[in-house]
Symmetry: C2
Subunit: 154 residues, 2 copies
């Protein structure tokens, strides 16, 4: 698929990438060891005694897995996605080992960048959905996307 520019997106557009990621118990633990060493992310026994009752993925792991799905999706602007930040990021329910996650994104707003005329700004809602159809993460993100270059010959 060719790269997309700001001009190729439209408000209301929905992306349902076909990619899925299966959440692996060892990956949950490895991520937690490195970045989020809390008992309910590290150890099944300790997790059983926690508020979750079983091992759950770090929310940051869910966010990173979401990024991996978005990066492989048809929403792939030319030059990559420059994330500017988030207005909202929620983890309504936990992610468990064996879950299978997919993402759905919708373009909420678009406007040209004032400071950078070669860029546009997009507000997107991205939901991460498990095998039961429940959203495990919802975020509203602002991203910077390149505008289609003017051709000198046209």
């Amino acid at each position: 698929m060719s790269d997309r520019y700001f001009e190729d997106f439209a408000v209301g557009q929905v992306f349902k990438p076909s990619g899925r990621v299966r959440v692996d118990k060892d990956d949950i633990i490895a991520f937690a060891r490195k970045f989020d060493p809390q008992p309910f992310h590290l150890d099944e026994e300790a997790a059983r005694r926690s508020i979750f009752g079983r091992l759950v993925a770090s929310g940051w792991h869910t966010a990173a897995m979401t990024m991996s799905l978005v990066a492989r999706s048809e929403y792939r602007p030319a030059g990559g996605t420059i994330g500017l930040g988030f207005e909202k990021l929620r983890w309504p329910i936990p992610v468990f080992p064996g879950d299978e996650l997919r993402v759905e994104s919708e373009v909420l707003e678009m406007r040209p960048s004032v400071s950078r005329p070669d860029r546009g700004l997009m507000k997107m809602r991205t939901r991460t959905i498990n095998q039961n159809g429940d959203a495990v993460q919802e975020m509203i993100a602002n991203a910077m996307v390149p505008r289609r270059p003017h051709s000198e010959n046209s």
Copy 2:
């Protein structure tokens, strides 16, 4: 240090954990391969031709490194931090290989949980600051924290 409960926190309280993390180039690339495979996170040559001009860490990597600093900090509620989500998460400037990051957190709001009387809700602002004193990430997060258990004997 003993565990902290909701009752041990106060609005306006500031935490400046002493921990720091040095951002390693190979770690930037390894994280990007797994979760955020974009040219400016993966390859120095490609990064030079990108909007950043050099290799930069994925924002999600910065978020995960921030979590690793928070997890090691004196802000460590009993039973762990249950992140409910974020109202805002911004990456004002990029994180480069060799950067040294630290975090600063401030309690903005506190209220008891209505649905769970054994828990309290805290709104925190956490800034991730590089060796030049510039914020590379700023987030406002809502977390659930256990309340101090009532003693039967007192």
